[in-house]
């Protein structure tokens, strides 16, 4: 199965937030009451009931009164996913054959370690302390359908398809490199940015926290090696030198 991906083109987005609504409809997520904070960006952040949102960025502009950037935010479906790496519960977070990072609330133990290990600060947890985030509509894409957000987007700012095809097409259209093409083994959400990612509110070089990588590469194997080594050393001592027989103790 070819890896799937979303292509986000902020310059095509009109900020209608149809994707936010479609996502809630498909994933049966209730609406949340929010207060007006003087921006059309709403709600202000991802929540357990909001898997995606449009970030509104206001930039000074020479040609217009203001330059608006609308950036779709959600789980990036990293190939090398920090959330999966750190998760201690078997089967709580997993990769689907399409490359989505999906979750199963029944297996989640609510430790929230994934919240700390995600380079994009994506996972949220619900009132039962279970993980909640975009799952690339893994139920839809398993049936060959496009995710609800991509399906509903009226301008093509969110498009869905084979990851390799998306990269090929955008290269022909003049994009040297998409945001997310190489990072973290390649993200499942690619961005056609026309400027530096920072302007769009994205991390230039997203990385899994060093402590998580160190833990994964060194501390985890060391748990087995330490235990095995200590047991082996004890056995070796018992055979080579032997116990302290009472008559030998002075």
């Amino acid at each position: 199965m070819a890896r799937k991906a979303l292509l986000i083109s902020p310059e095509l987005c009109i900020g209608c937030r149809g994707c936010q609504t479609a996502c809630k409809a498909w994933n049966q997520l209730p609406a949340t009451k929010t207060a007006n904070k003087g921006s059309a960006e709403n709600p202000p952040d991802l929540t357990p009931n909001l898997y995606n949102k449009i970030r509104y960025v206001e930039m000074p502009s020479e040609t217009n009164t203001v330059r608006w950037l609308f950036v779709s935010q959600r789980c990036m479906h990293c190939d090398d996913a920090g959330c999966i790496k750190i998760c201690p519960a078997p089967g709580a977070l997993f990769k689907t054959k399409e490359g989505a990072t999906a979750f199963n609330k029944d297996n989640c133990i609510g430790c929230k370690l994934c919240v700390a290990a995600c380079p994009f600060n994506v996972p949220r947890y619900d009132e039962k302390e279970k993980i909640s985030k975009c799952n690339l509509c893994s139920d839809r894409i398993a049936d060959g359908l496009a995710p609800a957000c991509a399906k509903t987007c009226p301008t093509g700012a969110i498009r869905y398809g084979d990851r390799d095809e998306i990269i090929g097409k955008t290269q022909k259209a003049g994009y040297q490199k998409l945001y997310g093409q190489m990072d973290l083994g390649g993200l499942g959400v690619l961005y056609a940015f026309k400027d530096s990612p920072k302007i769009y509110g994205m991390d230039e070089h997203p990385q899994i926290p060093e402590t998580v990588v160190f833990w994964h590469k060194v501390l985890k194997p060391l748990a087995y090696l330490g235990l095995g080594g200590a047991v082996a050393a004890s056995l070796l001592h018992y055979i080579a030198i032997g116990p302290k027989k009472d008559e030998e103790v002075k």
Binding site: A89, P90, N107, I109, L113, K220, A233, S234, V249
Partner: protein
């Protein structure tokens, strides 16, 4: 006279040791289950969710028990003198037959160091564990959780080296030691050879 017994550990100390060891076993087992997604281990507990509950509540028992060890071992462990240095220089006599070891307190220098390690690493693993579990409201929580995760796992690795050695030293390596944590008593002659300073202090 040759087989007179003397009391080395009282009931409180023995009970607390097995609370510590028992909770530690549950924590280690479930800890490995989490670390390596061991399905067989998860099956023992029923599900990952019940394993987490066992891990967390065994953590409470472990913490209380660890606290109680202070009364038994901390004062003597902090008394580290030239006889203790002598024990260290001779590596406790574990690598030579009939090494002459300076007289030792109720626990020897190695046991003192082991205790201080257990206390230190135990506080580290308990504090980090409770932090991950209870997620106190602090600024920059993600950083603190990552730090706790790191500390929890470094302490775990150290425990995995130290505890098997302790179990070996408390059983096979030193015949006659294991009964301390069962009956609390040892033969006087046995104690004179190993804990001379303590035996003297007890008035024998």
């Amino acid at each position: 006279m040759g087989n007179q017994m003397i009391k080395k550990a009282n009931a409180f100390e023995i009970l607390n040791h097995w609370l510590l060891a028992g909770s530690f076993l549950i924590l280690t087992l479930s800890g490995f289950g989490f670390l390596f997604h061991l399905q067989q281990v998860v099956a023992i507990f029923g599900s990952a969710n019940t394993m987490k509950i066992w891990h967390n509540y065994a953590g409470i028992v472990f913490s209380i028990s660890l606290f109680l060890t202070i009364f038994n071992y901390l004062p003597v462990s902090l008394k580290f003198g030239s006889d203790d240095m002598g024990w260290i220089m001779k590596a406790g006599g574990y690598f030579a037959k009939k090494a002459a070891i300076p007289p030792q307190d109720v626990i020897n220098a190695g046991q003192k160091l082991y205790y201080l390690f257990i206390l230190f690493a135990g506080i580290a693993i308990a504090a980090s564990g409770f932090f991950i579990w209870l997620r106190p409201q602090v600024d920059d929580i993600r950083k603190w959780i990552l730090l706790s995760h790191l500390v929890h796992n470094i302490a775990f690795d150290l425990f995995m080296i130290a505890v098997p050695l302790h179990i070996y030293l408390g059983t096979l390596a030193n015949p006659g030691t294991f009964r301390i944590m069962v009956y609390g008593t040892v033969p006087l002659e046995w104690a004179k050879k190993r804990h001379a300073k303590w035996v003297q202090k007890m008035g024998y």
